[in-house]
């Protein structure tokens, strides 16, 4: 292991080591990072050994600029806006990867975190190398945050030390927080794109208050209630943020005689109350997740009522079951006045 100062020639020396598939500890605007050439599978294996963590746990990578980032990830509008706002800087932005890095860098679902450090040395290394390097902190997993090289060296084994070929020592770094991670993939059109929804019949009514919306939910439930026992009923709810999807489900629950307070299932993904299962797909990445949570199995229960918020995200999956269940598609949109909502519905 060689230790060099942050001086002339440091960039060239680092690049030379990285090209050989070796590991380098380098300073950034947050903590000391450990770099391996991100397209070299051997280098990444070595890094995983050093970090002492299982294969399959992803690493983010440092690139020189947005143009270089676009060689490795697909940037959607949210990502572009965030790049403009925060990069270079201490923020890691996760996008859908293009699978051009070594195995083990992207997450299990093919997403990849990108950093553009506000630290000239790193940018110069990446530029000269022409390839991204890993941007993970230099500590072994779950050890102290490394603000100086001794934070790293005092907490690793001899074996780990032997895996490091070079350290660029810039002294003690200002104690800035590690980078903040933002995931932009939930806004990917790929996730959201679903086939067109064709309803057999269409009805529309204006709601003027939350109470109105709850009453509409009650009426709709009563209209389809007779099917219970023969088939489950799915209320597929579509509508923008804050339109009142959870308010609708509150009304539905009351109609079903449920006394518990219905709350938003966004965080939990699924909340159940007696014969009501309440899903929220807002945080789901694909429709497969709805299956994992037991949606299809639930359809075997002919007495069950299922409400799904953000149903348009899983429309294709829901459509497949239109013979097995009564599917009522409910769309809530903002009206002209503040409390007005246009509620339309029909069966699939």
């Amino acid at each position: 292991m060689k230790i060099i100062r942050k001086s002339k020639g440091a960039v060239e020396e680092t690049v030379r080591i990285l090209r050989k598939g070796r590991l380098v500890i380098y300073p950034t605007e947050t903590v000391y990072g450990i770099g391996a050439e991100a397209t070299n599978p051997e280098a990444i294996k070595k890094l995983t050994r050093y970090k002492n963590r299982p294969f399959g746990k992803p690493y983010s990578i440092a690139v020189a600029d947005q143009k270089m980032a676009e060689d490795y990830v697909e940037l959607n509008q949210t990502a572009r806006d965030l790049y403009k706002q925060f990069l270079p800087g201490p923020v890691t932005i996760v996008s859908t990867g293009k699978h051009k890095v070594a195995p083990g860098i992207e997450s299990e679902t093919g997403t990849l975190g990108i950093r553009i450090p506000a630290y000239k040395l790193v940018i110069n290394i990446v530029k000269t190398l022409g390839k991204p390097i890993t941007a993970t902190s230099a500590n072994a997993s779950y050890q102290k945050r490394p603000y100086k090289t001794s934070d790293v060296l005092d907490n690793i084994s001899q074996k780990q030390k032997q895996l490091i070929d070079l350290i660029i020592d810039a002294g003690e770094l200002p104690h800035n927080e590690p980078s903040t991670v933002i995931d932009t993939t939930l806004d990917d059109p790929v996730v959201l794109r679903q086939g067109e929804i064709k309803l057999k019949d269409k009805n529309e009514v204006l709601s003027r208050s939350e109470e109105n919306t709850q009453n509409i939910a009650k009426e709709l439930f009563q209209r389809y209630e007779e099917y219970l026992g023969k088939r489950p009923i799915v209320f597929a709810l579509e509508g923008p943020m804050g339109a009142g999807k959870t308010v609708y489900v509150k009304g539905l629950a009351k109609a079903m005689g449920i006394k518990e307070t219905v709350i938003s299932p966004t965080f939990n993904l699924l909340l159940t109350y007696d014969q009501l299962a309440h899903f929220d797909t807002w945080r789901m990445q694909n429709e497969k997740e709805l299956e994992t949570l037991g949606f299809i199995k639930m359809l075997e229960d002919k007495n069950l009522v299922i409400a799904i918020e953000w149903a348009e995200r899983v429309a294709d999956l829901i459509k497949k079951y239109r013979d097995q269940a009564i599917i009522v598609w409910v769309k809530i949109v903002y009206g002209k006045k503040e409390n007005e909502r246009l509620i339309s519905w029909g069966t699939l």
Binding site: E108, T109, V181, N268, L270, L271, G294
Partner: protein, 349 residues
């Protein structure tokens, strides 16, 4: 009392080893720890399947617990009890942690403790701290899934004073961030934007949002759905967004959200018939500095000590807090039969 604690209530696979209220190790496998300290969760199918990583996380927690000060390496057979979260949370993921805890309890013949995730958040300020608390005191959990204010008659005896009726506070902050195009989870970024307005020019925020149920705090609920709707309309009317607009909108939303929270707590404090000296605060949003500032101010006003976890690592979901809650349960000898333990996805405290 050494406890191996497991929490798989939602996105994170978390395992910790605690000794009484000391944290010997605290390992969380999440998107957050993959890339950085906080940030959050990536709701992918594979990542919710805690099964394939729980063994590794347990192993890591056990190994790490032996490190400082040359303490002899701990083994599972040397812990005194196994603790696990039984709810609230997502049924399928809770099941993974419970199955593992059950397996370990049987294999090593250890007593098993079932813990409520919310009790973990509420008791997290006890970690690594000698707390002299006078009871009753209050507990506040503010996270992605819950906003909950409790009266703590003593540890283990709780009365709900106010709770979420629609969106939890953490969820509301994440959704506001998403409306502003800040990705997910955006609570932490929202805070950064909001902060940058305060330190910059002293001009007044040009936006205002309605404070939820203002003047009707006697309803003792936490509600954020109406505020979310108002925010949506405001953001839509302000598009295209500039950096300055985003900063002001972020600050405006945080202000309305926190004002509501503090007003409900104030109402409770003004109308109680008992004396309160302490408020314990836990949950992911308790890492927010603006919220801390406001709660401390409230504390001054009512002469109450506001207690947060000793590190922000214990704010977001973790298993160290489960170990601490379990420790108090073992003191009361509240164990559970491994054959009878079951998940309670809608668990109340």
């Amino acid at each position: 009392m050494r406890i191996l604690a497991i929490d798989t209530s939602c996105d994170e696979t978390a395992v910790a080893v605690t000794e009484d209220t000391k944290v010997l190790s605290n390992v969380v496998w999440s998107q957050a720890s993959l890339h950085a300290k906080f940030g959050g969760v990536m709701p992918s199918l594979a990542q919710r399947m805690h099964e394939e990583r729980i063994d590794w996380v347990i192993d890591k927690a056990i190994k790490n617990s032996g490190l400082p000060g040359g303490r002899a390496k701990l083994k599972i057979k040397n812990v005194d009890a196994i603790a696990v979260t039984i709810g609230p949370g997502l049924a399928i993921t809770l099941g993974v942690g419970i199955a593992k805890a059950k397996e370990l309890a049987k294999k090593y013949n250890k007593p098993l403790v079932a813990v409520n995730h919310l009790e973990g958040h509420i008791l997290s300020p006890f970690a690594e701290t000698e707390l002299k608390i006078s009871y009753p005191c209050l507990g506040l959990a503010v996270s992605g899934g819950n906003t909950l204010l409790l009266k703590i008659n003593r540890i283990g005896k709780y009365e709900t004073l106010a709770q979420t009726v629609d969106d939890a506070l953490g969820e509301a902050l994440d959704k506001a961030a998403r409306m502003l195009g800040l990705g997910y989870p955006g609570g932490a970024i929202l805070e950064k934007f909001a902060r940058s307005t305060n330190s910059g020019q002293a001009q007044k925020n040009p936006y205002s949002l309605p404070i939820p149920i203002i003047g009707h705090e006697e309803r003792k609920i936490f509600t954020y759905s109406g505020l979310k709707t108002a925010m949506y309309r405001l953001v839509e009317s302000e598009k295209p967004l500039t950096k300055e607009k985003i900063q002001n909108l972020a600050a405006c939303f945080q202000n309305a959200a926190f004002t509501h929270l503090v007003r409900v707590i104030s109402f409770v404090l003004n109308h109680k018939s008992y004396s309160i000296k302490h408020l314990l605060v836990g949950g992911g949003v308790s890492a927010n500095n603006e919220l801390r500032k406001r709660l401390r101010k409230l504390g001054k006003e009512f002469e109450i000590n506001i207690l947060f976890p000793y590190t922000k690592k214990l704010c977001s979901d973790n298993a160290a807090m489960i170990g601490i809650a379990a420790y108090f349960k073992t003191q009361r000898e509240e164990f559970v039969d491994p054959e009878k333990i079951d998940r309670i996805p809608n668990a109340k405290i």
